[in-house]
């Protein structure tokens, strides 16, 4: 059924770079950069969920925030809808905010402790709409219903809620302005497992109901497998592999993706006992001083000399599967090139072969 949906790009990221300057020495001079995100390009199609996974500190959250321009980008472009938000003036950016929202990681800290739930959810409406007070309250109640919060809680303060309830408040707040695109920045990381499932199911239901597009950032690989249509694996500020869900989990191509996915435990005890983990040696290099060539070359089990010299580009090696590795060469019979992408995507978006 979803195959019928036209694969229209909603978000187009080109060569996104986000460097944080390092100032050191007596005069606090600019001596270097933490290259949190170093040249990322990907698209997110309307109605899909793109999962973004990677270990701590690889730049996942920075990508999410940079996409909504909660940081000033170092370079690159982020086109959402038809405007490059990296170049919008602050005022135009502000009026564009209703269509792109974010659900934050820490539901405790991301809500203003001195505002009631109703005030938190209604505040974007005050700013961006001209609804009357009654209409706003009605909208707040609708949103609270949508995320499964009791209407009687509207006048309570955030500290009176549990973590899962607070995350629902955060989601209701994000939904208030009918956004098209929502960045979910580890929305379940701070919740316990039983609540995680509730919140993820809620996000899925809302996606269906409102036709939302998600960028789902997580380090929980099983959860990403559950919710995402396509998955991008990040390592040290760059995308290692970007593939539809099923092929990625069945047959990861990039050595880092292989290592990462080998860490996912299998619920079947028989298969679990036979699971072979790839243990990477060494530590992640500092993002302020990434290695020359491929940024994974210091830890890659399959490293070859060229990896230390040339930075591999993210290239389409199978239909819909993008890998940045010298070892993974495009299959000759499917080297469709970028022009074939839109058609291929229909096939690949769900990560399942068309019947």
């Amino acid at each position: 059924m979803l195959d019928a949906k036209p694969a229209k790009k909603l978000v187009e990221v080109k060569d996104l770079k986000m460097y944080f300057p390092i100032h050191s020495g007596l005069l606090r001079r600019h001596t270097g950069d933490v290259k949190a995100v170093d040249g990322l390009s990907f698209d997110i199609f309307e109605g899909e969920t793109l999962g973004l996974v990677g270990e701590s500190g690889c730049g996942k959250s920075t990508v999410g925030r940079a996409l909504l321009r909660l940081y000033e980008l170092t370079s690159g472009s982020v086109t959402i809808g038809d405007e490059d938000i990296a170049k919008l003036s602050p005022e135009k950016l502000r009026t564009k905010r209703p269509m792109m929202q974010m659900v934050f990681q820490d539901p405790q800290a991301c809500l203003n402790p001195r505002m009631t739930v109703a005030a938190i959810i209604a505040e974007p409406l005050d700013e961006h709409t001209k609804l009357s007070a009654d209409e706003k309250l009605e909208k707040v109640y609708e949103l609270m219903d949508a995320v499964g919060l009791n209407r009687a809680f509207a006048n309570r303060y955030p500290h009176a809620f549990s973590g899962g309830q607070r995350q629902r408040i955060g989601i209701a707040r994000a939904l208030a302005l009918n956004p098209k695109f929502i960045v979910c920045d580890e929305p379940i990381a701070a919740l316990d497992v039983s609540i995680q499932a509730q919140v993820v199911n809620l996000l899925e239901d809302l996606q269906e109901q409102y036709g939302l597009t998600y960028l789902f950032i997580s380090h929980d690989l099983s959860m990403v497998r559950h919710i995402a249509d396509r998955v991008a694996v990040m390592y040290l500020g760059r995308i290692a592999e970007l593939s539809p869900r099923e092929p990625l989990y069945a047959d990861p191509l990039h050595p880092y993706a292989k290592a990462l996915l080998s860490a996912v435990p299998d619920p079947d005890p028989e298969r679990e006992s036979g699971r072979k983990r790839i243990i990477l040696q060494g530590d992640v290099p500092s993002p302020s001083n990434p290695p020359k060539g491929c940024n994974f070359c210091t830890r890659c089990p399959e490293v070859i000399p060229i990896c230390h010299e040339v930075k591999p580009d993210l290239a389409e090696v199978r239909p819909g599967r993008f890998v940045a590795c010298h070892l993974v060469k495009p299959d000759n019979n499917t080297a469709a090139g970028s022009t074939g992408l839109a058609e291929d995507f229909e096939y690949n978006q769900q990560g399942e072969p068309k019947q």
Binding site: R94, M102, C110, R114, E123, H159, R173
Partner: protein
């Protein structure tokens, strides 16, 4: 909230009693005699009679309990009589100063307006200067504005008021002749000319104390702002697409004000007691000057009464600060 307040007030009673005893013993144990300023030519038996007349030769506990009765029974009755025209306190002994032989409370009431106008103005001015400086230096952390603000705050912090006071007198009174160096308490504001004169004579003491207060409060405001600016809810507010003005003024400043308001409330007792030195430097005839004079003359009843009033104010404003905290921060609920 009401039960909390009542409970705190009840707990304040033993605290204050203990404080009053400690003050009484400390002042009593301090060297010096109430007669040290009387000429040595006065013969010893006359001195003895003076002591007896003042009640200064009684044992310390007799004097302490007498003072307690006078402070908690007689003086409130006098106030009551004064307001309602009754005569309950007609022949009761009030707390009498050993120096001036007049009731201490009358002197306090006479001196209070001077202290309130000068020190109170400086405190309000200090707060009004400190808050915007604190907010802006936090918002533009490490900017030139912030660096200069920090520098001035450090000066205000570390240079004592008697020194800044003397420097100001030297510059503005001695060299420039802009302001008078001595505060004229008898000046009555009746017209424009006397008003400008009042402003002129208030200018220097107010500047000195405002610098001192502003230095402290601006640092509190700045650090509280910095703490809140880094919070996640600020990012949420920006993601909502609010204007920067609303993000800062509505979200960050309101949350940052919680600890600052309590600091401001806690500083109010110092309006009464803390400006002793400054009043002395500028000859403002206020409560501070009264206390200094009483200490020099070993005037035990006055010192005791004034210090105890300061103690009451501190306990009271501590309670007010706690209540404000509960009102401003929804996470804090008493009882």
């Amino acid at each position: 909230m009401l039960t909390f307040t009542l409970r705190r007030l009840l707990f304040a009673i033993p605290t204050l009693l203990l404080i009053s005893l400690l003050i009484f013993l400390l002042v009593d144990l301090a060297p010096g005699s109430p007669l040290s300023q009387i000429p040595l030519t006065v013969p010893p038996d006359v001195r003895m009679k003076i002591m007896e007349a003042m009640g200064a030769n009684e044992p310390v506990f007799v004097r302490y309990f007498l003072w307690l009765k006078q402070f908690f029974v007689v003086e409130p009755l006098v106030l009551w009589d004064h307001w309602w025209g009754t005569a309950y306190s007609a022949d009761m002994q009030r707390i009498v100063s050993w120096q001036s032989r007049s009731p201490v409370m009358d002197t306090v009431v006479q001196r209070l307006p001077q202290t309130m106008t000068v020190i109170g103005t400086s405190y309000i001015l200090g707060v009004m200067i400190a808050l915007p400086i604190g907010i802006y230096s936090a918002y533009r952390q490490y900017s030139w504005f912030d660096q200069i603000g920090t520098f001035i705050a450090m000066i205000g912090f570390s240079v004592p008021t008697f020194f800044t006071g003397l420097v100001l007198i030297l510059v503005f009174a001695v060299n420039l002749h802009w302001f008078p160096s001595i505060y004229d308490t008898s000046l009555r504001v009746t017209d424009w000319a006397s008003f400008t004169q009042q402003v002129k004579q208030m200018a220097m003491p107010v500047m000195v104390l405002a610098l001192y207060n502003a230095a402290q409060i601006s640092r509190y405001m700045r650090s509280s702002m910095l703490e809140n600016l880094g919070q996640d809810y600020v990012r949420t507010a920006r993601a909502k697409g609010l204007t920067e003005r609303i993000v800062v003024m509505k979200h960050v400043v309101r949350n940052s004000m919680i600890p600052v308001v309590t600091v401001i409330a806690l500083g109010i007792p110092s309006i009464f007691g803390g400006a002793i030195i400054t009043e002395q430097v500028f000859r403002v005839n206020g409560l501070g000057a009264l206390l200094i004079g009483a200490i020099q003359g070993s005037d035990l009843p006055t010192v005791q009464t004034l210090t105890f009033i300061f103690a009451v104010l501190i306990v009271l404003f501590n309670l007010i600060a706690d209540i404000l905290y509960g009102l401003l921060d929804p996470r804090i609920r008493y009882d």
